[in-house]
């Protein structure tokens, strides 16, 4: 009895043989095989179809605006008052989006790369086990939670510096820099770890210190990866909507760039993303809603341009380093 059961078990473990023996099943399995192959292909095409649809819908609905408003008024107008005064200028928002993105990068790029170097080259395994999960956790926190933190802690802090509202470009910069740090750290860390050991060892053999090795060998070797990290985080910062909406104020005109506001740092503003989030709840179909889609289209274009230039740039850099 026991032997019979053992034999059955072995048969079941080699499941593949079950199908091999039945000719009828072989026909159906052949049919399923072909069917699944097509299904896999179609699934992969979903990505292409989605990208096409998204681009089409956003740009199509955006272009509807230009039946009502000339594109120059849109791109270069200083004021946004679509319902009362029929003003559709997004220039202040483009400037504000760039301002917060660049500001966040200035803080996070050095900090993030330094942390990545620390994790990859210097930290002990036990330290790594503390810092790496912390970075992972930071990347998983929802943006509204960061927004809440900004509203509850950062904004009052900024208010204490003077007669300012606290809601400001600076608040957005601080929150955004915390949000893009994990991206920079993890991708840079991967790039730094990918530097071949031989390069570092030969540098040490020549008598350089660790820091000199990092500066002279590791960083240049991983520069394309680090640049990728920065480009990705630019995209993230530029496209962030909720956290920025909660701390930047959402005004309708050009931010105040006078010295009193620290050349714009302490001024309220509106970015391309917060424009969409702020107005979408009440925008009516017509010029206003189309203007919001047009804002989205501009956002989309910026991201495409950033990604494309980085692609070209990295291609050229890798060609140079290979030759």
């Amino acid at each position: 009895m026991k032997g019979f059961y053992q034999l059955q078990k072995t048969m079941q473990e080699i499941k593949i043989k079950k199908y091999f023996d039945k000719k009828e099943k072989r026909f159906w399995s052949g049919f399923v095989n072909l069917f699944m192959e097509q299904l896999f292909f179609l699934s992969a095409c979903v990505a292409v179809i989605s990208l096409f649809l998204i681009t089409a819908y956003v740009f199509y609905n955006g272009f509807k605006l230009f039946q009502f408003v000339p594109i120059t008024d849109f791109l270069f107008g200083f004021d946004w008052d679509p319902v009362t005064q029929k003003l559709f200028g997004v220039l202040p928002m483009i400037i504000a989006s760039c301002y917060v993105t660049v500001g966040a990068l200035i803080i996070s790029a050095p900090l993030g790369i330094a942390c990545a170097i620390f994790l990859a080259e210097i930290a002990s395994p036990s330290t790594q086990q503390v810092i790496r999960p912390a970075v992972q956790l930071l990347s998983g926190i929802p943006s509204v939670v960061f927004g809440l933190f900004g509203l509850a802690f950062i904004v009052p802090l900024i208010q204490d510096t003077g007669d300012v509202a606290g809601l400001s470009i600076l608040a957005a910069i601080i929150i955004l820099s915390i949000m893009i740090l994990p991206t920079i750290i993890s991708i840079s860390e991967d790039a730094i770890k990918a530097v071949p050991k031989e390069l570092k060892e030969s540098s040490i053999a020549l008598g350089t210190t660790r820091w000199q090795t990092i500066l002279g060998v590791v960083l240049p070797a991983s520069s394309s990866g680090i640049l990728t990290a920065i480009i990705l985080s630019i995209g993230r910062a530029f496209g962030e909507a909720m956290a920025v909406k909660m701390v930047i104020g959402n005004t309708q005109t050009m931010p105040d760039f006078s010295p009193q506001t620290g050349f714009g740092l302490l001024s309220l503003a509106r970015t391309l993303t917060t424009n969409i989030v702020g107005d979408i709840e009440y925008a009516e179909p017509g010029p206003h809603l189309s203007a919001l889609f047009a804002t989205g289209a501009i956002l989309f274009l910026f991201i495409i341009i950033i990604n494309a230039t980085s692609y070209v740039f990295l291609r050229r850099a890798s060609v140079k380093s290979n030759s």
């Binding site: 399995s29 810092i131 509204v144 933190f149």
Partner: protein, 294 residues
């Protein structure tokens, strides 16, 4: 000579010290933020009522967040039902079948670009296509479908990596036994790649839970009724406008006079992220052990 060496040594110490500080600075930022939110939010959560009573609206956000929790769960299930099969199948295509031709390049190009699109654009698309064009109205369905496209690149990428890490020997020996490709994939390759694929799904759950912009635009924000998963009217699945936890947090922080409750919702969200991260780490530990045994 001595001063030159001590100068280099000083530079070395300073640089390494700065790097060390930057590493620990980031940990302290994380601890501060989480600590801040837990400090103000944990008392409210620990009263447990908050999690299990329905919301009552009003100016002070009376009631709890039961409907929002349900809406979040429904959203995750709804979008994964769509995104997981499509994403895994697409990854299978890319690793097992795809030839080096134009279409494959186009597919990879599309996936890369989808990953880089800001979430608010997905919201606009969801509004234009699902809410308005397909007439789903503001609904969890529109939200779930928009969100599923958003997490598709994540699932495809991680699944692809997981599939690639399955040794070729598995496939070859199975095919040598006369098993056709689909059987090989379903019985041999997929089970081996399962931990990696599961990681991808957990990562996308993390993204879905944290998403708010897309949902405000496509799912609206009603809190007066328990959301339904199926119904007898078009569009038959997830037809109700509902608020998820992240969306509710946004309103709590900006409109309701209930800061403590906003922090409490934040605590719930952070707990979910902690749990997901823990699951991912458990999977990769188990995976490593499996490989180590071999």
């Amino acid at each position: 000579m001595k001063t030159a060496i001590s100068k280099i040594q000083a530079e070395e110490d300073f640089a390494l010290g700065a790097l060390k500080i930057s590493g620990w600075l980031i940990v302290s930022v994380l601890i501060f933020i989480i600590g801040y939110i837990f400090y103000y939010g944990l008392p409210e959560v620990l009263s447990w009522n908050y999690l299990f009573t329905p919301p009552e609206g009003g100016r002070h956000d009376n009631g709890g967040i039961l409907y929002q929790i349900l809406a979040t769960v429904y959203l995750i299930v709804g979008s994964l039902i769509v995104a997981a099969p499509i994403g895994i199948f697409a990854a299978i295509y890319l690793t097992e079948y795809a030839p080096q031709n134009l279409i494959t390049t186009l597919i990879r190009f599309a996936i890369e670009n989808l990953a880089g699109i800001p979430s608010i654009i997905y919201g606009l698309f969801g509004l234009a296509f699902f809410v308005i064009f397909l007439k789903f109205e503001y609904s969890l369905l529109a939200g779930a479908l928009s969100v599923s496209i958003m997490v598709l690149p994540v699932i495809i990428r991680t699944s692809e990596e997981a599939l690639k890490s399955v040794p070729q020997a598995f496939r070859q020996s199975s095919l040598a036994l006369g098993v056709n490709k689909w059987q090989t994939i379903s019985k041999v390759v997929l089970p081996s790649a399962f931990p990696g694929i599961l990681t991808g799904i957990l990562l996308s759950i993390g993204r879905i839970v944290g998403e708010s912009a897309v949902l405000i635009l496509a799912a609206g924000g009603s809190i007066t009724a328990i959301p339904r998963f199926v119904s007898t009217t078009y569009p038959y699945v997830l037809p109700d406008s509902a608020r998820t936890l992240a969306v509710h947090l946004y309103y709590q922080a900006t409109s309701y006079d209930a800061r403590a409750k906003a922090f409490a919702t934040g605590v719930v969200l952070i707990f979910i992220v902690l749990f997901l991260n823990w699951c991912i780490n458990q999977i990769s530990k188990g995976y490593r052990n499996k490989l180590a045994v071999r």
